[in-house]
Every structure is written in C-alpha cells, then in structure tokens.
C-alpha cells in the first residue's frame, strides 16, 4: 500500500528525520493561510500516489501567500493518472546545496533488505543504477540484526565523499539518519521507503520528498494507516471487504467476468482468453471457495451490464464440486443473472456437482481450453 508524501513525511518525522515545515491544505484559502503562517517562499505539492508529479506540473512554487492561493486554484481538481488532486502540501522552500538519495527496499532474490545511497539524488534513481552503478552504494542488511552502526557509517562516508566541504559532523548526522530511516523501514513494515531528494543544506540534511510503500500483509500491525486514498468511500469499503475475505479483485475493461480461485490458474485463464480474442473484465483470485463464498462472489458481476459472460472456474481439490454447484444454484434461484454463465468444473464430487448444475440448465465443461472457447463463443453470440 502506497501512502501519500505527507503521510510518509509524518512517519519519518516520528522516526526522527527532519522534513521541511509544512501543512496540508484542501482549498486555496487554506493554502493562503498556510503560506502566511510559514511566512516565506513556499513549495506547493499535489498529494497524489502516482509518480512523476514534477513532470506533470503538480509541484509549484510561490513567493507570497496570495501567489500561493492563486497557483493552488489551478491544482485542486486536476486529474493525474486516474487520481483527482484534493490535497496540497504547502511547505517552506528549503535552500539546497546538493541533492542526495537514500532508500531501503527488499532484495527479493536474496530475501533481505537492501539499503541504497547516492550522492546524485533528485533524478530517476533507476536510471543512475542502470547507467552509473558505481554512483550507488548498496548495503545488504541481515534482517535480525538490522542496519549496523558500521554499515550506517559506511553509507554516510560514501555520501560525504561526494559532498564538497563535508566533514565528520556531516558524517555523524548522516549515520544517524541512515539508522533512523532503517528503523522506519522495519517499524512500519515497509516494502520500500525512499528519501529523494535528501537536501544537504548548510551542513544539515532535510528530507525534501519521501515515498513509502507498506506491506499489505502487515497492515494488521498498522491499522491506523488503513484509510481511503484516491478512491471513493464505496470503493474503499469494497476493497476492505475483499481484503477481509482474502480476495484479490482488479477491474479491467473487458466484457468477460472471471470467477476463479488461485492466482496462477486465473492468470492462465486470462492468457487463454486474450489469445483467442476475448476481453477479460477482471482478475479475481478468491481464497478457498465454498457454497456461500461462490454465491457472494457472483454478486460482484450482477447488474454490471458491461459484463456479458462470467466464466466460473472450479478445480475442487480440497473443496467439493457439489457444494460449489449448490452455491451457484442458490444464486440462480434467488436472482435472475444479468450475464451468461459458463462453468468449468473438475474435482471432488464432480458428477454430483454436474447434476446440480443441470437442474438449473447449466452444462459443466471438463476441459480448461474448451471452457475458454465456449466462453468466447457465448460472448460473441451476445453481440
């Protein structure tokens, strides 16, 4: 889960990392007041989750509160990468001698945290990593020990070596900063935390921008961070409901709904559908299904008239075909489905399940490829 810059900075401040003085504002009047309180030139930054805010013109500067209010009026309501700008972070403009980079992320191949530092912050770190790998210092961290004092000092030395006039004092501050950033990384269960740029300013350091992605699976340890971001209350409620059930649901723009358990087989179904010219309407990976679960999941598609067909995929290894068929029957008995249904069903008590489906006029298909072809055919006939 990605969080907003303003939130990431708040968490970094709690970890003892300096950020510019600033306030969140939700309308031009609040922007004016915030700028007046800050009493100097300000930076105004749209709070969106998407990357490249600078290039999209969503970060701007103002000398006076009046100017701040004026430029902010053009930012509120702007659309960027599917998000609507609703909040601006108004911050003191901080003088900057050099832009540094600090980040901690997970090396998934090694299964360990990796701490990255560079004296060339402020630009796309991925590009530097690619073109000038020697400009990036990498430290692999033992999870149980955490970043050690020696490792932090090595990082700090690498950074000061790239800075003009930096001495032992700066090295000490950067060592401490690295340790605190690592603490935030583990303390908030981050997949990634990044300060880019970290401004070197008159001998001290300030996090001008911050990004943080928190592990969804660790949110139970950070319930205070769960809130809607760039989505309606309704979407948020639905997402929370799915998370509780252990479902992953991603809406796409096709006309074939897919109800399936297991990410691997679901991706394989999407591949097969697309290879035959079908357009999937979603990715849905439900956890282990039962009668009630499949009944509930069918409601996702009900009433959505863009969905012409739903392919229900059942490979009952642990659960039972007859139980799931009963769930489909329950749905058909209570509702008039707004879509065609194709069922692929294999597994425990397959024959019993087939009989139940027959009673509601559905013919279960045994082969995966055959079911995909049938789905495409039924959908074409509809149009």
């Amino acid at each position: 889960m990605k969080i907003y810059e303003s939130e990431a900075k708040e968490l970094l401040r709690k970890s003892g990392i300096r950020t510019p003085l600033g306030e969140l504002a939700f309308n031009p009047q609040e922007v004016r007041e915030a700028a007046a309180r800050l009493g100097q030139a300000v930076v105004i930054k749209a709070q969106t989750l998407a990357k490249s805010r600078g290039k999209a013109g969503l970060i701007t500067f103002a000398e006076t509160p009046e100017e701040a209010a004026e430029v902010s009026a053009g930012l509120f309501g702007r659309q960027h990468d599917g998000e609507r700008v609703e909040a601006l972070l108004v911050e003191q403009k901080v003088p900057c001698n050099q832009e540094l980079y600090l980040g901690v992320t997970i090396d998934y191949t090694e299964g360990r945290p990796i701490f990255l530092a560079s004296g060339k912050g402020g630009v796309d770190i991925e590009q530097i990593a690619d073109e000038q790998p020697e400009m990036i210092f990498r430290v692999s961290v033992e999870p149980s020990r955490g970043l050690t004092g020696d490792q932090a000092r090595d990082l700090a030395r690498f950074l000061t070596s790239s800075m003009k006039g930096a001495g032992p004092e700066q090295e000490k501050i950067l060592t401490e900063l690295a340790l605190r950033l690592y603490e935030a990384f583990t303390g908030y269960d981050c997949e990634m935390v990044e300060v880019n740029p970290l401004a070197a300013t008159n001998g001290s350091f300030v996090a001008l921008d911050a990004a943080m992605v928190i592990d969804d699976d660790a949110l139970f340890r950070h319930p205070e961070l769960i809130r809607p971001r760039g989505q309606s209350e309704e979407e948020f409620a639905r997402e929370s409901e799915y998370r509780k059930r252990g479902w992953t649901y991603i809406r796409m723009d096709g006309d074939i709904g897919i109800l399936s358990s297991g990410a691997g087989i679901t991706m394989a179904i999407l591949d097969l559908l697309r290879a035959s010219g079908g357009r999937p309407a979603n990715f849905l990976d439900t956890a282990q299904m039962d009668r009630q679960g499949i009944y509930d999941a069918l409601h996702i598609f009900q009433g959505d008239l863009t969905i012409k067909t739903v392919l229900i995929h059942i490979f009952a290894g642990l659960n039972r075909c007859d139980d799931l068929a009963e769930g489909i029957k329950d749905f058909f008995t209570e509702q008039r489905p707004t879509f065609n249904v194709v069922v692929r069903m294999v597994g425990n008590r397959e024959d019993e399940g087939k009989e139940i489906l027959k009673s509601i006029g559905l013919e279960a298909i045994r082969g995966l490829e055959e079911a995909v072809q049938k789905t495409i055919q039924v959908t074409r006939e509809q149009t």
Partner: protein
C-alpha cells in the same frame, strides 16, 4: 526416489487443533504420511486423529524424532512458530499460510540459512512425493501418480492442473512442489532443479512459473551453466498481464528488467528450456522430453 519428502519422513503439525489442520492431517495420514506429533500451546496431552499433541515444539522433539513440520498457523503468528521449529532443530518447514508479512518472511529465511534448513513457502499448498506416498500440505493427492516427472510450481492451482493432465496422460511424478506464490519464499526453482538433477528417478522437470520475481531467470542460468543435464520444460502464467500490476500473488509484481515475461522467455531460450505457450502443450513437451 523422490526429493525432500520420503516415506520415512517423520512429520510434526504445528497448529494441529485448528479445523483445517485436523482435516488435512486426516488426509495426509490416509495418503501415507508419517505424522508423529502435533503442537498446540495448551493442548498438550490431547490427540488429533490419533496423533499426540504437545504444548510446544521442544516437547514434541523430545518425544519423537521430527524431520519436518507443517505450519497451519495464522499469518500473524507464523514467524514465531517457524523460529520455534528452526531453533529446535527441525530441518524442513512447510509454511502453507498466505499473507505472511514480508519482514517476517525475511527473518524466517535468515534463520533457515543459519541452521542449514529448508523452508517451503510461505503461501504454498505443500508438496507430494507419489512414489513415497508422502504428502506434506494439502495438494489433492488423487491427481498425482508415481513416475519420472519432477514438478515445481509457484502456483498451487496450476500444480493440480498440470499434475492431473500428466497423470491422465500416463506420466507420473517423482515429486511435485508448490514453492509458494509470495515474493519471498524459501526453496526456489534453482534449488528444486538441483535436487531433481541429483535424483535418479526424476527424468524430466516441469517448471510452472509466473510473471514477476527472478526465480525463472535464476533457474535458466543454472541450466545454461550446464549444472542441469535433465530436460527442463517450462510454462509461465501471466503472459498478457499488464506489467507492474499487482495481480493476486504478491509474487506477480514486475520489477526492473528481470521479472518481465520477455526476460523470462529470453532466459529460457538461452538455456535451451522448452516453453509451453499454452497449457495444452505441456503434456506433449514432457512426453517428448522423456523420449
């Protein structure tokens, strides 16, 4: 032979009193797995399906030789349970639990390395060695049969799908492993390949990958190095998934130039690994490989 799990592997079930654990304990026992003990704090002295329950792993290890443990433990407590098993000297852990926090998984793997143990998962249906009648986890055993094919898969459901197709075609399996769908898992394709290479009964290996992560690339590099001489066949799910989109398994996130479908297919090609473009091609490729 098989790899990792054998008929004399003596198994512990952590969290044995939960309803899913009870159910799967019964299934595993029926298949032939030697489950010798269970653990559930506060339930010491009870029995589940005739298996004695202990309060903690140390007590279970005192009473029985334990070769492997299967964790039927909620995600929030997996780390503590896995570390408990590792510190008590258990050398094989199967973690079926989904949604284990990444930072917890990293600590488990670190301890596993320190102790020279093997961890399968998290987020795995487990593994099965049909020639040994040994099942660790909850793969549905009826779709598997003994034979020469080694199978390692990141997806549980595709493990069942391909095993049942192989079995229907008369191609049995030596061992099938669900390595787990998470971004951080213990046993990786590369290690599974090394074990299959060393196993005299395995004659060909099927790798079932997914977009995201680097496991497929690592496996391909191992094959390209000449360390694996047995034929390897691969299938990758998610050919058409949009890059960078998180779909289902946390593992399906694409990062950097590795992890993309292109990177995986190119790596397989360089290594001479035959790739099935569709599920229907898998059985034929395996049959050809077996000659």
């Amino acid at each position: 032979m098989s790899i990792i799990a054998f008929k004399d592997t003596r198994v512990l079930i952590q969290g044995i009193t939960g309803s899913a654990a009870r159910h799967h304990t019964k299934n595993m026992l029926a298949y032939g797995t030697k489950i010798v003990a269970g653990v559930r704090p506060g339930a010491g002295g009870q029995e589940v399906e005739g298996v004695p329950v202990f309060d903690n792993v140390a007590e279970a290890c005192e009473a029985h030789r334990i070769d492997a443990t299967i964790l039927f433990i909620p995600a929030s407590r997996v780390k503590a349970a896995a570390l408990e098993a590792l510190t008590n000297g258990v050398k094989l852990l199967v973690i079926v639990t989904e949604h284990v926090p990444l930072h917890d998984a990293m600590q488990i793997l670190e301890e596993k390395d320190r102790r020279g143990a093997t961890v399968i998962g998290p987020n795995t249906p487990g593994m099965i060695s049909p020639p040994e009648r040994t099942l660790l986890g909850f793969v549905p055993s009826r779709y598997f049969a003994p034979g020469p094919v080694g199978l390692a898969s990141r997806s549980g459901t595709l493990t069942y799908e391909f095993a049942s197709r192989l079995t229907d075609a008369g191609l049995g399996q030596s061992t099938c492993i669900g390595v787990g769908g998470d971004r951080i898992v213990g046993l990786r394709f590369k290690e599974a390949l090394q074990l299959f290479q060393a196993d005299p009964q395995t004659e060909a290996v099927l790798l079932v990958g997914e977009i995201g992560g680097t496991m497929e690339e690592e496996a391909a590099e191992l094959v390209a190095s000449g360390a694996v001489t047995k034929p390897v066949i691969a299938y990758i799910a998610g050919h058409t998934a949009p890059e960078g989109t998180k779909v289902g398994h946390a593992g399906a996130i694409v990062a950097g130039s590795r992890g993309t479908i292109k990177s995986k297919l190119e790596a397989f090609e360089r290594a001479g690994i035959k790739v099935a473009n569709r599920p229907a091609e898998v059985v034929d490729l395996v049959r050809q490989a077996l000659g």
